[in-house]
């Protein structure tokens, strides 16, 4: 049973670059992380590019940031693209900060998480 429904966008015609928005649920914590992993895996399996839409008021913990980092590795090796619709904000940004991800952050990571924004 899929615990949380996700809203997958409508597939684009195959001759255009496939870039699918994937709306994530508001609960991005260890309680739901396994379901999110399955959704991400199946979305990445069928599409070349995924744009993650994280609700601004989403609840997030370390398991989510770790999952997204794992998804970036997966996408990189599979020749796929993964990006965030908006720069990290709210609890996701808080986790990045508290978890020590922002310290000496690589330029590529800054582009992914913050859309090259500098966090004070």
């Amino acid at each position: 049973m899929r615990p949380t429904p996700f809203c997958l966008g409508v597939p684009l015609p195959s001759n255009t670059p496939v870039s699918l928005p994937l709306s994530l649920p508001g609960q991005l914590t260890i309680r739901t992380i396994a379901a999110i992993q399955e959704e991400l895996l199946s979305a990445l399996a069928g599409n070349g590019s995924i744009i993650l839409d994280i609700p601004e008021d989403a609840q997030a913990d370390l398991s989510f940031v770790q999952l997204i980092e794992a998804a970036r590795i997966y996408a990189g090796t599979a020749g796929k693209q993964l990006s965030l619709k908006q720069p990290a904000s709210g609890q996701v940004l808080e986790v990045l900060d508290r978890g020590g991800f922002l310290q000496d952050m690589a330029a590529e990571d800054q582009r992914f998480w913050l859309h090259e924004r500098t966090v004070q």
Partner: protein, 686 residues
């Protein structure tokens, strides 16, 4: 790829935590000054609270918080540990189980009652009202070390730490630990993500991160240890002092100097800038924890149902191997025979390995009786000591699971009926404290579990009177001592004059008998007036595969468990003729009753000219089974009987033979009892 449900994982972990907390409490109850147990209980409660909150068990977290607060006071020496406090928290652990099982149930009333008891216990112990005070659930392990009397010096530490992979799933919040480190002073924290695998390989609830931290603090080193107090046993922490403590009184801008030492991001842990004079300070934080971690990594948790599945497969393999052996034997192909023998050896080894995997020590089973006896002592007002022996004895896990209820009934019965009150015991010249011995040992293919008490013993006259009045036996029936004692296992039988909370309703002892019968076990009762009773349960070590003796009776084949076989004899035609009507054979000067299985099973076939007697026994009782042919030994994979046959007492199961045929497995206990009954009947008839 499928992952275990985190909630189910939490429930399993929580059950183990509660068991540890309970063990700690019971140990503490024996020695109220045992600081180690106080810490263990506190840690357990803290972890339970944290993981409960993380997985959405808010009611559990809130309730556990109060118990944790109480134990925090004990830990800090604000209140002493008392028996009342231990009992209050023990009761609370039961409620925690309920809160885990039914998180959204209506628990408020029970919670409030238990917390009132807890508050009373803390107050009586001399504590304040901290338990009652509404407090935030969030852990607050911020260091509360007293400020240094003199001007504080700052020290810069460089550390690298990682937590066990399952720590998030267990409820540890690494972000909380990092926050606590930040509270200690100026802190630079960098997450090392190099161990994160690709998404398809990721166990999403596992933690793959390591942190490199540079902390400049005025707090002592112990403040850092306090941050990690709940994970210290399992974590990996490398800590070095990288800057000399410097007093601000020297008017140096020390706090600014320390952060100026950057973390070498390319090579964070390997190049500590430690001056030689401080080198001795650079040491692994916790070598004991390293060893523990290494040890825990050697164990793998496997769901019980997977073991059952594996057991089924091994069973199928044993059956297939049996068919192969038969085919190889018939074919005469030497190469096929060689392969068949190899497969037979390997499947035998696989079977033995599998059996070992399923064996678990009875420690956990016995552990729960400490709590039971503790509670029973309070309920009955008796002083009771539980002494356990042979806890390392290993038994098949499915047997252990099914033994729990019968043992609870027996221990309850011993506490309630067996042991006298303190006054009665003193009057009888015994010590005030009644003793209950719970022991386990292996003997041949069985495990013997004994429950013994030093109480008043079973009153045989009362047993007989009760059995006669309830029509279980006829007045003045001629019964052996064992038969009389076994009457206590009859349904509805109770000699207790008072019905108590614990026993005396006649429910329970018959359940014991039924369960032990279902396990193909036997019960033996010994009782001495005024000295106590001893009930021994003899249970087969496994319920899955046994070595059997395959025999033929008429056209059917049957398996007799080899562990019960004493010897095999030939029953000559003369002897057979002579014994007609008597059904006894003389075996080394003693008469052994025998049962002609051909007649018992109504085969309708003529007896073979050279019938065999297989002598089987359970303990001291023996009976011979007359069969037509002994085929040989047979690795028997036990299959349960269908529901339609569950009341057929003569057979305990069935097995599939190498040729695809079915053989029924004889229920040794039942047949021996039948034989003994027959013997008693014939003796009575003269």
């Amino acid at each position: 790829m499928s992952f275990p449900d985190p909630i189910a994982v939490f429930r399993t972990e929580a059950a183990e935590l509660l068991e540890q907390v309970e063990t700690g409490l019971l140990d503490l109850n024996h020695d109220l000054t045992d600081k180690e147990q106080v810490d263990a209980v506190f840690r357990g409660l803290h972890t339970l609270k944290g993981s409960g909150a993380m997985f959405g068990f808010e009611a559990l977290a809130a309730f556990t918080h109060h118990c944790e607060t109480a134990f925090d006071q004990v830990r800090k020496g604000i209140v002493p540990a008392t028996h009342d406090l231990v009992t209050a928290v023990l009761s609370a652990t039961d409620h925690m189980r309920a809160l885990i099982e039914v998180p959204n149930g209506d628990h408020d009333a029970v919670s409030e009652t238990l917390l009132a008891k807890l508050r009373a216990a803390v107050t009586a112990a001399g504590g304040g009202g901290a338990v009652a005070a509404p407090a935030a659930i969030a852990a607050s392990a911020a260091p509360n070390t007293p400020a240094a009397p003199a001007a504080p010096a700052t020290t810069t530490y460089k550390m690298r730490f990682s937590l066990p992979a399952n720590s998030m799933a267990n409820g540890t919040n690494p972000l909380g630990l990092l926050d606590e480190l930040r509270d200690l002073g100026e802190c630079r924290i960098k997450a090392d993500q190099s161990s994160i695998p690709s998404l398809d390989m990721l166990m999403p609830t596992d933690l793959y991160l390591t942190w490199d931290i540079v902390l400049t603090t005025e707090q002592p080193r112990s403040a850092i240890d306090d941050v990690f107090i709940f994970v210290m046993d399992e974590m990996q922490l490398d800590l070095e002092v990288v800057d000399v403590p410097s007093a601000p009184a020297a008017a140096q801008p020390a706090p600014a100097a320390a952060p100026a030492t950057p973390v070498a991001t390319a090579d964070p842990p390997a190049a500590p800038a430690v001056s030689s004079e401080h080198a001795p300070a650079a040491a692994k934080a916790n070598p004991v924890a390293d060893a523990k971690q290494a040890k825990s990594a050697e164990n793998v948790r496997v769901p019980a149902e997977r073991l059952d599945e594996l057991m089924d497969r091994v069973g199928e393999l044993v059956i297939a191997q049996s068919r192969l052996s038969q085919l190889a034997g018939v074919s005469g192909d030497l190469q096929l025979r060689a392969v068949s023998e190899d497969v037979e050896r390997l499947s035998g080894e696989l079977r033995d390995t599998m059996m070992v995997l399923r064996m678990v020590p009875v420690t956990h089973l016995f552990g729960r009786f400490r709590r039971l006896v503790h509670d029973l002592a309070i309920e009955t007002g008796k002083s009771i000591e539980l002494i356990t022996e042979g806890e390392t004895t290993e038994v098949d896990k499915s047997v252990i699971e099914r033994l729990a209820d019968p043992l609870v009934h027996l221990v309850r019965n011993s506490c309630d009926h067996g042991l006298e009150s303190a006054q009665e015991r003193v009057a009888a010249g015994k010590s005030e404290t009644g003793r209950i011995y719970l022991t386990a040992r292996q003997q041949a293919g069985e495990v013997i579990i004994t429950i013994k008490d030093d109480g008043r013993g079973i009153n045989r006259d009362r047993v007989r009177a009760k059995a006669e009045s309830s029509g279980l036996i006829t007045p003045n029936a001629n019964l052996t001592d064992q038969e009389l004692l076994q009457l206590i296992f009859q349904p509805g039988f109770s000699t207790a004059q008072q019905v108590t909370n614990l026993s005396g309703r006649g429910v329970g002892m018959d359940v014991v008998k039924r369960t032990i019968d279902a396990l193909r076990g036997t019960i033996n009762v010994v009782s001495h007036n005024g000295q106590g009773s001893e009930i021994s349960l003899a249970i087969p070590l496994t319920l899955a595969i046994i070595d059997g003796l395959l025999v033929r009776v008429g056209n059917g084949r049957y398996v007799i468990p080899l562990s019960a076989v004493e010897e095999c004899l030939e029953l000559s035609v003369d002897e057979d003729m002579r014994s007609r009507g008597r059904s006894f054979i003389s075996l080394r000067d003693s008469l052994v009753p025998f049962i002609r299985l051909r007649e018992l099973f109504h085969t309708g076939t003529a007896p073979d000219p050279f019938q065999k007697v297989v002598v089987i026994s359970t303990g001291s009782e023996r009976v011979g089974l007359v069969v037509d042919q002994i085929i040989g030994d047979h690795q028997t994979v036990i299959k349960g009987m269908s529901k339609l046959h569950h009341d057929v007492a003569t057979f305990s199961g069935a097995t599939i033979l190498g040729d695809g045929g079915v053989a029924l497995i004889l229920d040794v206990g039942h047949l021996v009892a039948e034989g003994q009954h027959q013997e008693a009947h014939l003796r009575a008839a003269g």
